[in-house]
């Protein structure tokens, strides 16, 4: 698979240099792989740190800025960052009000953030953690690694980010992050497999007439392979999977997310189908976001994430945000 790269080994460092050049509002430490909003630490404000494997851009670096993350730690492609990065990020953004780690539920991310939390606390930084595990495709049980963190990460980062920006204390920001995660579910579909720079070819074989239902964002195969479906059928299936688990009684925010290689034209069309199903199910949609936000390199496909919101969460959603990938409000 052809890629717009030099060599696989420098992909993440190259991208960070490119980010630094494009976004003077961010302070990008290429050597130590930490992306920090330039005005950090903001006095009295809780710091929000997230991170994870690279390859999901704009997540997380593209969500650093006022109203969202204070810092992001990009790991190697599809590989959790190391504790050193997280400790450095925490130190850079802590104003004394403490730091919230937003961690997608993968064994690697959990272990590394846990180690980092211990080390940061050793340095006198107060750390809280929110685990994101929204992917209903994965059976959750004591005997598995549990559900993956996918699209809902954006909800948690935006809403907890707005709460922190409003000056809420660490416990409140953490509680909101947790509430958002508990109110959110996602389901993803792949039309093509992903190729990582180090492997250089698709991680699995997905023939022309088939698709994978219930995929994650790391090129893992999904739970089930089926004959290719229409946009309408995929929306029916994905929304049903989410709603079977979420059963919202209040309005939702909908994220209709592209996995990377699906054209925006198709994503908007898919959104029309998602909105149709939600309407048929009597779910009221308060806000909708359509685009490539939580991606999987060059994978074609999409995911649907819903977050049930009350008025407080909706206010936090509408609050100003000023990051490379998400911007609104004033």
């Amino acid at each position: 698979m052809k890629m717009l790269i030099n060599v696989p080994e420098t992909v993440v460092a190259d991208a960070l240099r490119g980010m630094a050049a494009a976004h003077p509002d961010l302070s990008v430490d290429v050597d130590n792989r930490v992306v920090v909003r330039r005005d950090a630490p903001v006095a009295g404000k809780v710091g929000l740190v997230s991170g994870g494997g690279s390859g999901h851009e704009p997540l997380h670096g593209g969500f650093v800025g006022p109203g969202m993350l204070s810092a992001a730690c990009p790991g190697e492609v599809f590989t959790s960052p190391v504790p050193d990065q997280m400790v450095r990020a925490a130190a850079a953004v802590d104003s004394g009000a403490g730091v919230l780690f937003i961690v997608k539920n993968y064994t690697g991310d959990v272990l590394n953030f846990d180690m980092a939390a211990e080390l940061a606390e050793d340095e006198g930084i107060q750390v809280a953690k929110v685990l994101v595990n929204d992917d209903v495709a994965v059976t959750d049980s004591l005997f598995t690694a549990g559900r993956r963190g996918t699209g809902a990460t954006l909800f948690v980062e935006k809403l907890a980010g707005a709460a922190a920006e409003e000056g809420m204390p660490l416990e409140r920001v953490e509680a909101i992050g947790r509430q958002v995660n508990e109110s959110s579910r996602s389901f993803g579909v792949a039309l093509t497999a992903v190729s990582t720079p180090s492997k250089g070819s698709p991680t699995f074989d997905l023939p022309e007439g088939e698709l994978e239902l219930g995929i994650g964002i790391h090129g893992e195969p999904g739970r089930e392979r089926r004959a290719m479906m229409t946009s309408r059928e995929i929306a029916d299936f994905a929304v049903a999977a989410v709603l079977d688990d979420l059963r919202p009684s209040r309005p939702v925010i909908a994220l209709v997310n592209g996995m990377g290689a699906t054209p925006l034209l198709e994503l908007y069309g898919f959104n029309a189908e998602v909105q149709r199903v939600l309407g048929e199910r009597g779910i009221s949609v308060a806000r909708t976001l359509v685009g490539n936000y939580v991606t999987s390199l060059d994978m074609a496909g999409c995911s649907v994430s819903l977050c049930e919101v009350d008025e407080d969460l909706l206010r936090l959603w509408d609050a100003p945000v000023e990051t490379p990938a998400l911007r609104w409000g004033r």
Binding site: P8, V82, T107, K199, F204
Partner: protein, 209 residues
């Protein structure tokens, strides 16, 4: 095969030789490990360990710790700081805790190493919450520790058999667990790399004997 003795023959230099041999072995098998991970994971296990063991080999050319314990804790810290993913903290912890268990003695023997490795493997089990049969590196590490009291070659064989025995299992931990039944029929990449490290240990011991 050289007759194996459990005498006090394992000094810091031995562990450095082992880790450098591990780096070479990982370099050689990286693509295979990544391919195994592509089937039931995210196609990075080979490059993860490559990055980590390159860093270990590099640091050991600069710093030369005096004791086996210091060699292993340094290598473990290095893995934690460079690998990431699940295998970084797990292998890092394995080496660090094994090193800590060895204390600051100038040398150890096979029995001492077996005990210390047992502590390291227990720490991995505790950190990751997995147990034998979950289709993880533990399926190679646990039998290896047990067999190490008999001999190096036995440990290598036990680790390899343990790794191969993961193929029919359904994963219950790590990324492969997302696949449910679809994880059956593939050998676990972490168990495979664990067998590689133990095999390299046996080779190092044999070469040194």
């Amino acid at each position: 095969m050289a007759e194996q003795q459990s005498g006090p023959d394992l000094d810091a230099a031995f562990f450095i030789r082992w880790l450098i041999a591990c780096a070479a072995a990982v370099e050689r098998d990286a693509a295979h490990l990544t391919d195994l991970d592509a089937a039931i994971g995210d196609a990075d296990h080979g490059s993860n360990l490559q990055r980590g063991f390159r860093a270990v080999a590099e640091v050991l050319t600069k710093e030369v710790p005096a004791t086996p314990g210091a060699v292993l804790t340094l290598a473990g810290r290095q893995l934690i700081s460079t690998v990431g993913g699940a295998s970084g903290p797990l292998y890092g912890t394995l080496l660090r805790r094994t090193g800590k268990a060895l204390g600051d003695a100038a040398g150890t023997d096979r029995a001492g190493l077996a005990d210390a490795l047992g502590a390291g493997v227990a720490a991995v089990a505790q950190l990751g919450g997995a147990k034998a049969g979950d289709k993880t590196m533990l399926d190679a590490l646990e039998p290896a520790v047990e067999a190490l009291s008999t001999g190096y070659a036995e440990a290598a064989r036990a680790a390899s058999e343990g790794a191969e025995a993961t193929t029919p299992l359904q994963a219950r931990k790590g990324r492969a667990s997302y696949l449910g039944e679809r994880s059956v029929g593939h050998q676990d990449p972490g168990a495979t790399s664990a067998a590689l490290l133990v095999t390299t240990l046996a080779e190092t011991a044999e070469a040194g004997a």
